[in-house]
Amino acid sequence: MKKIAIALGLIGLSAFAFAEKSSTDSIAEYRQMLQDGNPADLFEAKGEGLWTQKRGPKNAALEKCDLGKGPGVVKGAWVELPRYFADTGRVQDLESRLLTCMQELQGFSAEEIAKTPFGKDEQNNVTALATWVAAESKGMKFNLSQSHIEERKMYEVGKRLFFMRGGSHDFACATCHAQDDKRIRLQDLPNLTKNPGAGNGFGAWPAYRVSNGQMWGAQLRLNDCYRQQRFPYPLFGSEVTIALGVYMGVNGKGGETVAPAIKR
């Protein structure tokens, strides 16, 4: 080893080349290298299989699930969610809507799945399904409806939640995500109050997290935001998470979805 170290003293020169490049450029280069071969593909494939597979107490597939564009229509559904659903009488995001379908069509208990910790059992399947559904809209532009009064109310609630300061550190979503061109440590922070931040930021989830090798849907993304904000635990599919989805999704109107993305 020593020998190599000595022989390599020469290579110290190349360190100069590195110094020329800013760390931001280097990080961008690193991210670029990961784009080709996003492990999210593995979850997308799994989700595609789950959609047509007969499962649950009713031994049925999800092929007739209505994600907002009619039974079985998947393409384009993701860029219009969350939206109001007349059959449940509430505004739902992708994951809470998948729970409705799993309950109605397959006979699973939506309540049980919502209570299951992330990364376990049926929660894993919900994440895989969400990954596939989102991927089916890849490259499409966000276009959330604000025509129903409940959708408009949820936007207003989401806006209030976004700026709500609380927890031990007085953090709001807005503390980190209401300005342009800021970063936390080395990570760029999207400004989620407008485009391109809202479209790129909100529109990137589900995403594969390289730091822990996990696939995260928007629900888990928001859950961990609240954890880092030092807030209590937001329930899966709860109104706060959906209202924030409406707020960010509407702000991202016209932005192109890149989900499923690959993230730190």
Partner: protein, 103 residues
């Protein structure tokens, strides 16, 4: 039973580039669980690639290869329609084989 791999094989000229994603924990053997006990290493250690059934590449991996591993390599003389097969085996004896057609 392990989840399927994603294999993409694209021909360009007289060769084909193969990109593979494998679904595997690749537990490093360095981490501790909640009680402070080391979580034993669990990783793919043997990878074989075939072209139309003939072995073209073998590889050995340690636990330092990242979770959900990625592998890229290029097969000479492969053309559209050829079959690329990938097999991995891990240190617990679990194995998985998937196949893709060169496009």
């Amino acid at each position: 039973m392990a989840d399927p791999m994603r294999i993409r094989a694209q021909a360009a000229g007289d060769k084909a580039t193969v990109r593979v994603l494998m679904s595997h924990e690749m537990e490093s053997g360095q981490r501790k669980d909640g009680t402070g006990k080391i979580i034993p290493a669990w990783h793919i250690q043997d990878v074989t690639a075939t072209l139309n059934g003939k072995t073209v590449l073998t590889a050995e991996w340690g636990p330092a290869v990242s979770k959900n591993p990625f592998l890229q390599f290029t097969i000479k003389g492969a053309k559209a329609g050829d079959k690329v097969g990938i097999t991995w085996k891990d240190n617990k004896g679990d194995t998985r084989t998937d196949e893709a057609t060169v496009s």
